[in-house]
Symmetry: C2
Subunit: 241 residues, 2 copies
């Protein structure tokens, strides 16, 4: 069982993905938001890259009788005219039962869409990292963790979540793990910081930015381990449980 | 004092280097070899990219009356016809006093040459990481750690050495450190693994390969902290103390 990490959504090559399971990770906040929305009973999440694509898709779905929300952010903030932002905490008070969410974010939705070409695409974050590891241990082949990164830069929280999944996978499987040096670094770093994820990740560039724009509660929530047992999967344009 | 890390020699942009101090790092083994050679009294090390360049340079220097050794490796092994390999342990039994070494290696020499454009280029490894930190604390401005990487891939040992230098720099300076997320990851990882560097790095891809081809003693030596207090500097084509 081979494991590797891609540090930024833009670094993925279709060649690397072939025959593998990709785990798309954008801890702050897209993949945490997606997991939370599906857990709250939403029917599916459709990741799209642009605002225009989101609005067009909403019209189409409304026309065919679906309950639809647009959701997403630019620079961390809710997109004007959209129904929802990209805040998992915000979703707590919204009824999502059977709704379809069309989501566009700065980094995460690209990580998911760029993973097309993998045999399977799973959605991971800290809140479901042990559940992801269980799925990887039980079913599939080689794994590539696709970190969204942030505006083309390294994202420590995504890297660390890949380490967390590797850490739990090692506990769950009897298969030998053949891990890249990057994955070894992430796993070890998770092992060292899991006792105080929030302390460590709150000081990251992205963590500090989200606090500045008023999303401290999202940081707390996104840095919590294993509160969810669902592992959403992206296929044919839609993310579902 | 800003600190950042470039993960592979080929990722450096001259724009990033401008006005900064670059620290070129190739723990296994070029920068460890260079530090060792200079400590043994060699006059300078000239990093060149190709075998042809090394041979041509040797002829020139011999013609002008210098004592010269060619040194280097391809695929870890000594280059046929060269005087020396790229093994710091091998240098122990060779008299280097006042000699000039012309060095070409797979990754490290490119990291050094690609750093041209920085205000200063220092040569770092585990064996001199505290000494590098002292220099960075006392004199210069913003820092970019240039990891050689390995054949275009991430190199855990170089990344960790950048973390070590950051770790010691934090102890040495009263200036506030403004570190990138990548640097924060490296520093924390060093903090967690410094008690057993050899155990952690011996399992890396490069570590395993060097063991396979018979260089276990180099691994031990390259993973030893702070045995040297010299900080070589590269300028005008030559590395000197």
């Amino acid at each position: 069982l081979k494991l590797d990490i891609v540090l930024r959504a833009e670094d993925i090559s279709p060649k690397e993905l072939k025959g593998k399971t990709a785990v798309a990770i954008d801890v702050f906040r897209a993949t945490t938001t997606i997991i939370t929305a599906l857990e709250k009973g939403c029917r599916s999440v459709i990741p799209v890259v642009s605002i225009e694509e989101a609005e067009k898709k909403k019209e189409e779905l409304l026309a065919s009788g679906h309950g639809v929300f647009t959701a997403g952010e630019r620079k961390g903030l809710k997109i004007p005219g959209f129904d929802l932002g990209n805040s998992p905490q915000e979703l707590r008070d919204v009824s999502l039962k059977d709704k379809i969410i069309i989501l566009t974010t700065s980094n995460g939705t690209r990580a998911i869409r760029n993973s097309e070409g993998a045999d399977r695409i799973l959605i991971g974050a800290f809140i479901n990292c042990r559940a992801v590891a269980e799925v990887l241990a039980s079913k599939y082949g080689d794994v590539i963790f696709v970190c969204a990164g942030r505006l083309g830069e390294f994202s420590l929280e995504d890297f660390l979540a890949a380490g967390a999944m590797t850490y739990y996978l090692r506990k769950k499987t009897e298969q030998a793990l053949e891990i890249s040096d990057l994955t070894a670094a992430a796993e070890k770093l998770f092992e060292c910081t899991k006792g105080d994820l929030l302390g460590f990740l709150g000081k990251t560039k992205h963590g500090k930015y989200l606090k500045e724009i008023g999303y401290s509660r999202d940081i707390d929530y996104c840095c919590t381990l294993n509160t969810s047992s669902i592992v959403p999967e992206y296929a044919e344009g839609e993310i579902k449980i």
